[in-house]
Amino acid sequence: MDLGYGPEHEAFRAEVREFLESEWGRDGAPAEPERERRESEFRRKATGRGYLNRGVPRRYGGSEQTPDVLRAQIIREEFGRARAPLEVPGAGMMMVVPTLLECGAEWQKEHFIPPTVAGEYRWAQGYSEPGAGSDLASLKTRAERVGDEWTIHGQKIWTSYAREADYFFMLVRTEPDAPKHAGISYLLVPADQPGIEIQPLKQITGESQFNQVFFDGARTPADWIVGERGQGWQVSRTTLRHERGHIGGADRSLQLWNSLMRLAGRSRCGDSPALDDPRIRDLMVQVLGYLRAQEYSGFTLLTRAARGQEAGLLETTSKLQYSRIAALISKLALQLIGDSSLLAPGLQPERGDERWLNQFMGSLGMAIAGGTSNIQRNLVAERGLGLPRDAPVRGEPSAAE
């Protein structure tokens, strides 16, 4: 075992630090409206240096680097330390770009990827419907070919950032007579058009990041389909071994933990500092056990990924670990903030990660979005432990598939 990165990678780290020092500085992001310009300029330079958009070919605006999970990890660590922006956040970079790279037509890659990488095209994911959540393949929104266009009717729900989006990537039923999974296609759809009505949904936090979206004769060109008709299910399942894919996902847990430590450091329990209170200390070390287990297993995942080896069962447990840690940390934070938890989230004085009521509720969102915890448990049981697939419902593929 050796927890160091070795001379070659440490030299790389030094180079990244130097770059950050000169191109980003120590002060973090400037305030709006300066911020957006500053960030996109920085991203352009960081991409030029091969630090960002590493898995995206140069001709589509990426930096086309040889996959190297250790370099990718160093970049995450150093950018995190400097509070410098990574790739443009959101579903575009996370899902659309990898999917297009894998399954898109050449013109689609040329047309959609570069502006997405640059943050000029923003995307929303139109998958879930009122009747189709975990059982996504039962979706009903339908698209019909009329001339050289698709015409779309139906409803999507819980669609994050739909109001900010320029485009949707969505799953629709195009082959009504085919079996459930074989009747679905993957379409790209312009958001700004008369056939689409977006209604914000007020979330449990009081904010409205997600929406319901009604499609009533919305249209998109015939060739804005990714993959063939009826292949949308497979297209949506392509998960690239994309080096940006957070290995182990401990970064976010560690960041939350640091916020919790800051909170605990300035909180009091009765007359004494919270960090002197035996009960708080005990609870915090309990969380620390889970946190370190996730962090250190992340080192193993990284080691194996760098060698192209599988990590089996361990890999399947990542999301459950992460959502448990987020829940534990935010519950503890609630205890530390005491009666100010009685105030509406908007009245909380804290900002950023320390909006603890939002974290408290947000950790529930985490346990629901992107595959609920129960669906994750199916995955661990079936793929990780080799147990029989979920109670066969009329011969369908199980949730874990």
Partner: protein, 361 residues
């Protein structure tokens, strides 16, 4: 970055596994559990022959010159197998002599200890769960009197490493007289415990005992954490296997989602926790400043995980799980042992917070 086992480390574990499969088929383990012997002497001798007991000792003195990580990897497999051997106390006493003994003490004991020709153990605990070097109270000196509780294989040991006030350590040869060990009816019948009474026993102090006892304790915590991980991973395996054979309502119980989720939750508890004992052992060897807190955290977390895993596994086995006949009890009891020996999880969580300098101190 390499946080995985090397080929040699895997082979080391495979070698131990192979021996355990040969020497410890289910009936042998059952026999050890129900029998009167303190441990399985044949298995213990073969483990020592394979070098598993002196891995961490210097090559010049009959050891393999390896480190705590390797020792912990062996402890993990012993926990997995619920092996009825006095590995823990023996390994720790060797470590203490190597770290804190005089040249003469090392030359006298380590070669025989590595070969398994003498059996050593640690006499640390005093009443009211006082396991820690800071809590030991027997007065140091050439003549030792007082009582130590829960000494593993106390009656069989040839040599005891006794913890004394001020964190001092001394060696007592049981054949010298003044040592009376009486068995306690112990929960884990694969690792018997004795109460040892010293009456003017001849004690040979380790010159650097007080300087090393805390580090030896940390090693003890890591080895228990490793054993606990091994045990917990075995529980998960036993539960998964049973769920795939036991049939109810016309199918194996592994078809029921409640059972699947119970097992999945267990996997999420157990699988990532392996890294805690790897890490604690690794920093013990390579970054000593980090070792005390990492060892305490690993022991606290993994022993809780093991108790939980063993309980869930009994439950998955239903009524059969509640019988003496069902092997799962070996691990439930091993979990209780690992949890309590050298201080319980609450204590080590409190120590972790202290070692990390939380609060105003």
């Amino acid at each position: 970055m390499n946080f995985d086992l090397s080929e040699e480390q895997r082979l080391l574990q495979d070698g131990v596994d192979r021996l355990l499969r040969e020497e410890l088929p289910a009936p042998r383990l059952r026999e050890a559990f129900d029998g009167d012997a303190a441990f399985d002497a044949t298995l213990w001798n073969r483990l020592c022959e394979q070098g598993a007991c002196g891995l961490h000792l210097p090559e010049a003195l009959g050891g393999a010159g390896l480190e705590l990580l390797e020792l912990a990897l062996v402890a993990e497999r012993l926990g997995y197998a619920a092996a009825p051997v006095p590995f823990w106390g023996h390994a720790l006493a060797g470590l203490a002599i190597d770290l804190g003994g005089s040249e003469a003490q090392k030359r006298r004991w380590l070669p025989r200890l590595a070969a398994g020709d003498v059996l050593t153990s640690v006499a640390w605990a005093e009443t009211d769960s006082r396991w820690q070097p800071e809590q030991w109270s027997l007065p140091p000196g050439p003549s030792l009197s007082g009582v130590k509780e829960f000494v593993p294989a106390g009656r069989e040991a040839d040599l005891l490493l006794v913890g004394l006030a001020g964190g001092e350590l001394a060696l007592v040869e049981t054949a010298d007289g003044g040592v009376a060990a009486e068995p306690v009816e112990a929960i884990d019948r694969t690792r018997r415990l004795d109460r040892v009474r010293f009456e003017a026993a001849r004690a040979d102090p380790l010159p650097a005992g007080a300087a090393v006892s805390s580090r030896v304790r940390d090693a003890g915590l890591v080895l228990l954490a490793a054993d606990a991980f091994g045990g917990a991973s075995r529980c998960l395996e036993l539960a998964v296997d049973y769920a795939q054979t036991r049939e109810q309502f016309g199918v194996t119980i592994a078809h029921f989602q409640a059972v699947k989720h119970q097992l999945a939750n267990l996997a999420v508890e157990v699988e990532p926790a392996r890294s805690l004992f790897w890490y604690a052992a690794h920093v013990f060897d390579r970054r000593p400043a980090e070792a005390p807190a990492s060892a305490a955290l690993a022991k606290a977390h993994l022993c809780d995980v093991f108790v939980h895993a063993a309980r869930e596994t009994v439950e998955v086995h239903g009524g059969f799980g509640y019988t003496w006949e069902c092997d799962v009890q070996f691990w439930l009891k091993r979990a209780v042992f690992d949890r309590a020996v050298l201080g319980d999880p609450d204590l080590h969580r409190a120590r972790t917070a202290e070692l990390l300098d939380w609060g105003s101190g």
